[in-house]
Symmetry: C2
Subunit: 351 residues, 2 copies
DNA sequence: CCATAAAAGGGGAACGTTACCACAAAATTT
DNA sequence: AAATTTTGTGGTAACGTTCCCCTTTTATGG
């Protein structure tokens, strides 16, 4: 009895991946040459180059990042860590970083550390992926994390961080932002100024509070015991802070908020309770996110130019990745600028 | 003459990576066993498992995603494509997706397609990385892109997309959102209703406009020749649309906006030109982003629950990745809900 | 015209995993 | 008690690149 040979001769269940090998065969050169051509890492004849290019296009060749990374111990992947991607300040950074990376054929992995609660995990990811670099826009970085980062040998740039870190940073001059805002309020005649702060004890919050305190101190104004409340950096935190300050008696004539999200939330809460802004209370924010321009009243804020942060950060990171710059940590300072809008006015003269 | 042996005996320039091999040696088992333990892909004795666990911890072993991906032809990477990460609707999706993936030990790569101009590139990335899946939240997807995706054999889920696509989708009922909003305006007595649209010809814009037209048609209201203007989905587009509508004579008594960003921009522009909202013009948005709750006046909007989108999308994607579900494309519909706020009122009775 | 250098290309060993197979020992069935 | 299945384990060949080293060809200079 004759046996049936095979049921399905062409048993191609999985669509095979096109490899550099097929390209080499098609272009009639060796694998090495194709590799050299693709990575521009050696010289290859104009003629052969063209043949390879044709083959690549014809076969729809797509290189395997996994194989590349494995062999070269580096991948075209950059990890961006942010505390909250929903904060427009950080989503703008993400957008800019991504587009800059795209130009360089790099890929961006995003990690939202949830206000840095899970920043540790992000580093593990970077190592797992052979990431070529990390952009760390955390609101706070723990000692242990820093050590791990240094040990892993992956270039790191801190965004909106502070120069004490042992890697390149791009940051604003510490407490300057809130300092500027509060000085402006004082100049207008405010004396009773509250501070609506973000996540307590975080590095960013500390410096923002410090700016407020410094401006108050320099003007010899004492800070009332209930004038500072720290909650968190989100809108809803701001909303709660707004309720808090609107219940305070006497109510401050101005409130300096640690960022715009807080300020917008605070604005809403106060207006809901019938407080007139800026007639009764002046409000300042920080970051100058797009919504501040169009809020009602529009929000006086301090620029914190996310696009510059991203640009400078990516630039420095690539200098480290490509090794064009070595040596001690550098830091770039992005200048603040006070943007005057409708949420601030002179205090009503006391009757 | 005695020769100096070596200048630097411990010449460890590069910190060597700990591999599965070292772990195996440390735990006194074979590589295979360690691999099986780590990937839970086979049985391993409780006792040996513990030894391996200890070794992993002791050596600070971190697996190489590159090697894993290369060998297994799949990586724990999911690609999320969004049209604009700065739109809170999408940044909320990104945040939710990332946190869900984190639970499963997956990593999220983010690609901002800039309103889908560069969506093609994103697919190449997915292939390059052996991404296990793609979450595609594009405002529009071209035919060619879809073909490539299908050919690449990578599971795809469309977010906020439409059921005609040959893959799983989670979406809202087509044009329902703007339909609800406009019906509400009509019910209040508005007859002259403008439409401030997003990126022309994109799939999402088409359906939003359709909802407006359908509601108008059903109420037998004719649409004035200048009442529809499509520009883009961003705040600044909305701002320009606001200027446009505020110059129109007669001015519509209400404007339905294709999303909240547009609405907020439009609100600002109109108020700047002295138009009272809602007394002179009622405004509706769509997506119910957080800023709509706190804008002044607060914005009437239609929910477009980004968290549900993300949850359902990730769930379906993993069912495909893990192969627990096969078969024809499925689609999950997320329900809309009209949220009434202060930006809408009855039209002033014509004197 | 030879010596030398530079350009262009090829061969093969890694990179760190997992998939597959083989096999021994233990548990279960017949 | 033999036959079978289950559980636990190890060996080894891929996966698709790049890197290193070597050979051949072409250009350069004295």
């Amino acid at each position: 009895m004759k046996r049936v040979p095979e049921m399905l001769p062409e048993d191609k269940k999985q669509s095979r991946r096109i490899t550099i090998r097929e390209v080499a065969r098609e272009a009639n050169v060796s694998i090495s040459t194709v590799s050299r051509y693709l990575s521009r890492s050696g010289c290859v004849d104009k003629n052969t180059a063209d043949r390879i290019a044709v083959a690549v296009r014809k076969l729809h060749y797509v290189p395997s990042i996994a194989a590349q990374s494995l062999r070269s111990r580096a991948s075209k992947i950059v990890l961006l860590v942010v505390p909250d991607i929903c904060n427009p300040f950080y989503s703008q950074i993400a957008k800019t970083v991504q587009s800059l990376l795209d130009e360089k054929d790099y890929v961006m992995t995003l990690y939202d550390s949830n206000e840095s609660l899970q920043e540790q995990a992000s580093i593990k990811i970077a190592q797992q992926m052979y990431a070529s670099g990390v952009l760390l826009a955390s609101i706070d970085i723990k000692e242990a994390t820093i050590k791990q980062l240094i040990a892993s040998n992956i270039p790191v740039v801190g965004l909106n961080a502070y120069q004490e870190y042992p890697f390149d940073t791009v940051h604003v001059h510490g407490s300057e932002g809130t300092y500027l805002a509060v000085k402006h309020l004082i100049m207008l005649g405010h004396m009773c100024i509250g501070f609506a702060g973000g996540t307590p004890h975080s590095m960013i919050e500390r410096s923002r509070k410090e700016g407020y305190q410094r401006a108050m101190g320099e003007a010899k104004l004492t800070i009332g015991p209930k004038w500072i409340l720290e909650k968190g950096f989100s809108q809803s935190d701001g909303y709660e802070l707004g309720r808090y300050f609107s219940k305070l008696t006497p109510m401050p004539t101005a409130v300096c908020c640690a960022n715009d999200q807080i300020a917008l939330g605070l604005l809403a809460a106060m207006q809901e309770r019938g407080v007139h802004i800026p007639e009764q209370v002046s409000v300042t924010g920080m970051d100058d996110i797009p919504y501040s321009r169009i809020s009602n009243p529009s929000l006086t804020s301090v620029t914190n130019d996310s696009v510059s942060f991203a640009r400078e950060g990516v630039k420095m990171l690539f200098e480290r990745i490509e090794g064009t710059v070595t040596g001690p940590p550098r830091d770039v300072i992005v200048r603040h600028e006070l943007i005057l809008r409708a949420s601030v006015s002179r205090p009503l003269t006391i009757a």
